[in-house]
Assembly symmetry: C2
Homo-oligomer: 688 residues x 2
């Protein structure tokens, strides 16, 4: 129910059912189906099974939505500062803000345990496609088939967990053409070892984000503990003392979150013409309204800061994706490839029978979706409204058997739900009012002030007056009130005269109806159709096809190389020298002030040390924190961003100026040693 | 063709066919039909014909889109700094920026002649309703009738100009129920006498604009010359030494630009549901895109500054109007009043025959307009595209007789057109590219990337690539190229291979077609219907009805009084003390830094001097620069802004917290004397 903040973007953005004529360095490959042939052919290098297993088991997925890797024999984990940020915020107090001060534990005893941080390492993969597919007999309506498969998946997961003691999740690949059961080693005791100040980790702020050249030390280190002792991983990545050079082949092992590369031309046209315009509009509106809100008062600016940063970040990413969708060259390329596959399907009677209608099914589903897309998207982005809606839905869902509930209310998900619902995080009346008024205005503008649903939402008041009456009369700031309502069930909800509860209870049947309509009449049809398209592609293009991103472990490869922008060449590396120059050029501007110790200790640094670099590896949001490694599996960098052209790879990879952006390991060591005086940490990283 | 800047807003925004049950201080009254009865009744004060003539002839309309008044026997004219700003910018050089430094001419010889500034003073008014109305026989189709009336108006204006030597313009009042011929004395030699720094004139910037309390010295002085000598006006306003006090009756004589108070409920619903959502969306988009543009570079920020300020200003104003439209209370009030009038019309057979269908005609026209509103609104906001379009249209229009051309190309308007077309103002490639790319993206999002018009506009390129190719290949930066194309006519246009000319020539037939469709099928119908509604209102409510704003001289009245906001009372006056306190509280924030001499000379000022004040007078954009006077016609203030609730008065005046905001004359005198050491100017103002 809440607008995503920067953290939410970790997995929400950026890279994959690729066309057969794969582009140069395209692909987010499964470790179970790696691009060994391509690498051998192009670079003359073989990836051994041992190499692959070693990299796979050194890489991890972090619960805040990013990637990470083991980088020492004593369980040291490296990830981005922005991936660790929620943990840093949790560990901060009103007196000590770790985002401002940074942190370094001089001894292991001083490492800080993170209450809500987890890491998962992929241990084994099992193909369970047959079991899942056979759960739904052919001809079953798509929505029912989906329910049957979900049931089977749930059973498989439980069985494997019992058998292996690992965390088991079935991953839907190729839009439902394949199902793999992933078994994870789960680590729940992570302790903060070192984090620089946010001002150097996020140097340049939102302005430089998705741009290049960059100058950010976006790194932090945690240590994994088991049974109160540092964990000694079987596999961890060695540190490269020389780093990467221009032209080097590199690999990225991480967890790209989501891509739309499998989307049909009709689906992309829907995104371009219907979905993106609405999303962009909402970003623009909210960005301007939050800026106006922030301008009223310094305190208002503080409480809106996270929301504003999150929206600006998402707006920037979606702007780049929209630019891709609006580029006829890109859209024509997708259409041409689709035409080729469809022609091959039409030419084979058996193919045609099985898969021929899939593209038209998607086009029809999207056309149908156009009719109610705006209704389905409507909502109220407010913490209090989110809480009220959860309470109303809990009362309705809990009496049902777990399997029949909305997924977020199943027994397996209730812990997470309650932990959010009973969170003591502060709620700000003014911001709540501003958000609700904004969304109510949006409803008037979208559906008309005379629309019956809108009239009910407004209750004969103006959007702002309505928002004020809902928030100022709301009792849900008090966690004990939430608990009482959750425990009181349907009876307590019906008896409550809290205005926000009444508001949520009144609107929720509509929200639920639109959601169900979308699930049944769009998503179910498309899931089925996309699985058929994937089957067609396997049949026509063979096994050299990688699946769309699913926030599971993938291997990408590329070369360290610059690109041209506006006619001039952008060098692949930046240096500390460049950092200090940019700080000077942008003096006085928000997000460009260096931490005090970076100013004081400048003279100690080798200013020619490479700070950030770019490569062509195919990545996406969720890859934040991924190690960049060389052919010897040594870490040479740490992914933390992409440049703007790379964002459009969300819909189609291109041999263009899109680049992944990484922190150079040489900068990390230089800064740890000379700015943070973290010699033991440096020694641990460099040890073999 | 160009996005309005702050200056464009002077007349584009804010305050009238009012309901009979007029609210307390409602009304923008004609000097030819002043509210003498209301004033007498409410305040016990009579407005004599001499008083009215004196005030009328002391007031002026400035060519930059604001109001002004004569305030000395030697032709000194007072207006707002923001009204004079284009002239100040014209007078600035790369070496001396008058907006930054301010200006004061110690002697008259040092006053600076403004190349493009004019002032008009309303001298006589003649009712020509009969002549104009009789030009079109009853039953003629609305569009034809409109053309006939325009022809008659043009003849009347020429005849009267010849006869009087004055500048003559027929003003359409009450939506076409009345036509008045206004005769203006025109002054073209205005010289800058004094202007403070922009940082004190626009203290608080866009953040404080449309807010209160305010602390701005938004004033500047010009002197009118005739034949090289200071002009000695027959009428000028005396300066009040005591200013106004809380509760005082005050008057405002100025030129409100535009209001929609006559709009029917169906028309307002159209504004709420169709027009405003699109306008707001465009503001948000452009504001965010210009901010992103500005963040790239300090030079980019400088060239985008005017556009950004203009958009933020307009966005703020339209936000308040939208809030009014989205308020069911306001909309119900309008609907109730409309119901009353319609019932009275229905009850009288003769009324019903003449006027009964007017409301339904408007509803039908607006419904029809919904079908092509977005097409009609589409456009490219670029200086180069605007120039190219003018050149293309000139080639098409000039061969026609003047009366048959689009209005902006008639002989009477050609001088103004050429002066804009051949302007040497700088054009910035980067900003042009950004604007065109933005508008092309907007077209894709509005009409789909597969729309034939959009495909033509894009020419198989992405919006940005298309914009780059149009701008970087354009030759129209060179004024001599424009002149050659204008003089070469249709042949030169057809032969030109300038990409912007080809682009404009290709798209213009569509833009013209949508414009004509709107003029013929919406505006003509509505003009006719609104005139009938006005007749009905006169018949039912009598002559105590004021017309909607038309950027012509009006008289408003009100009292100096505070209001409540969020439960606490806002005092009507602010002081210099408050100014210094706000500057301190907002230290370091853009637009809150005081000029050096204000800091240095603080101790000389009486800090209790009133700086700004508010009153209930009914004003609108265009009133900027209007004198606020007391019952003795002495100046007590200078209108420069309204607060946010007042902005919604654009559609309906309400006895709410809406206020006009003025500079206090006591602050002007105190600042002139003690900060600017402009003793002669003070003496001139205070002389009787």
């Amino acid at each position: 129910m809440r607008v995503g903040t920067g953290v939410g973007l970790l997995i929400s953005m950026l890279a994959a059912l690729c066309p057969a004529a794969a582009h140069a360095d395209e692909g987010m490959w499964l470790f179970s189906n790696p691009p060994t042939g391509i690498i051998k052919e192009k670079f003359g290098i073989g990836l051994s099974p041992q190499w692959l297993e070693h990299v796979q088991k050194s890489a991890g997925r972090v619960s805040t939505g990013g990637s990470a890797s083991f980088v020492s024999a004593d369980g040291l984990v490296m990830t981005n500062h922005h991936v660790g940020m929620p943990a840093l915020a949790d560990l901060s107090t009103p007196e000590i803000d770790l985002l401002e001060t940074g942190f370094y534990a001089k001894t292991r005893e001083l490492e800080l345990k993170c209450p809500n941080l987890e890491m998962n390492v992929l241990w084994e993969v099992e193909d369970v496609t047959e079991q899942v597919k056979s759960a739904a007999p052919p001809g079953m309506p798509p929505a029912d088939a989906h329910a049957e498969r979900r049931e089977t998946i749930s059973v498989l997961e439980s069985e494997y967990e019992k058998a292996t003691g690992l965390d088991c999740q079935v991953v839907t690949l190729y839009g439902g053409e394949r199902y793999h059961l992933y078994q994870y080693k789960r680590f729940t005791d992570l302790r903060l070892a070192m984090a620089p100040e946010k001002s150097i980790a996020f140097f340049g702020g939102d302005n430089d984000n998705f741009e290049y050249p960059r100058y950010a030390l976006d790194v932090c280190f945690f240590r994994v503990y088991e049974n109160g002792e540092p964990y000694h991983p079987q596999h961890y990545l060695s540190w490269s003392k020389t780093g990467a050079a221009e032209g080097d082949l590199v690999f990225v092992a991480g967890h790209p979150g989501h891509t739309q590369r499998h989307a049909t031309a009709a689906h992309l046209a829907f995104m371009r013409d219907v979905e993106m315009p609405v999303r962009m509009r909402d970003f623009w509106r909210r960005e301007v309204q939050l800026q106006t809100f922030s301008a009223r008062d310094y305190e208002f600016a503080r409480i809106a800061d996270g929301h504003l940063t999150g929206i600006q970040n998402a707006r920037k990413a979606y702007t780049a994706i929209s630019a891709g969708l609006q580029d006829p060259l890109l859209m024509n390329r997708v259409a041409e490839n689709e035409k080729r596959i469809r022609a091959a399907v039409e030419a084979n009677p058996e193919y045609k029978t099985h898969w021929g209608g899939a593209w038209d099914d998607i086009a029809a589903a999207r056309n149908h979706y156009r009719e109610f897309f705006l209704r389905h998207r409507a909502g109220i982005h407010s913490t209090l409204f989110g809480i009220a809606t959860h309470l109303v839905r809990l009362a309705e869902e809990l009496p049902k058997p777990s399997a029949e509930r909305l997924p977020e209310y199943t027994d397996a998900n209730l812990d997470a739900l309650y932990s959010g619902l009973y969170s003591q995080s502060p709620i700000y009346d003014d911001l709540e009012i501003d958000q609700i008024a904004c969304d109510l205005s949006n409803m008037v503008e979208t559906f008309s002030g005379d629309d019956p649903f809108v009239k009910r939402a407004l209750g004969d008041l103006s959007p702002r007056a309505r928002a004020e009456s809902l928030v100022l009369g709301c009792t849900l700031m008090d966690v004990s009130v939430r608990k009482a309502l959750a425990e009181g069930g349907a009876k307590a909800i019906a008896a409550s005269d809290d205005p926000m509860i009444r508001f949520a209870a009144d609107l929720d049947p509509d929200f639920r109806a639109w959601r169900k309509k979308c699930e049944d009449e769009v998503e179910a049809i498309e899931r089925d159709a996309y699985a058929r398209i994937a089957s067609a592609r396997f049949a026509i293009d063979g096994e050299r096809v990688y699946p769309g991103a699913t926030f599971t472990l993938r291997l990408a490869f590329g070369t360290v190389t610059g690109y041209s922008e506006g006619g001039s060449l952008v060098s692949p590396f930046t240096t500390f020298q460049g950092l200090y120059e940019r700080a000077e050029a942008r003096r006085g501007q928000k997000d460009y002030a260096l931490p005090e110790r970076w100013l004081k200790r400048k003279s100690r640094l080798d200013l020619h040390t490479p700070l950030n670099f770019v490569c062509t590896a195919d990545i996406a949001g969720g890859n934040s924190g991924s190690p960049v490694i060389n052919e010897d599996a040594e870490v040479v960098g740490l992914i933390f961003d992409v440049n703007a052209p790379c964002l459009a790879h969300y819909i189609a990879y291109a041999d263009d100026d899109g680049r992944a952006v990484a922190v150079d390991v040489r900068a990390i060591v230089e800064a740890l040693g000379r700015v943070y005086r973290a010699k033991p940490l440096v020694a641990e990283l460099l040890a073999r």
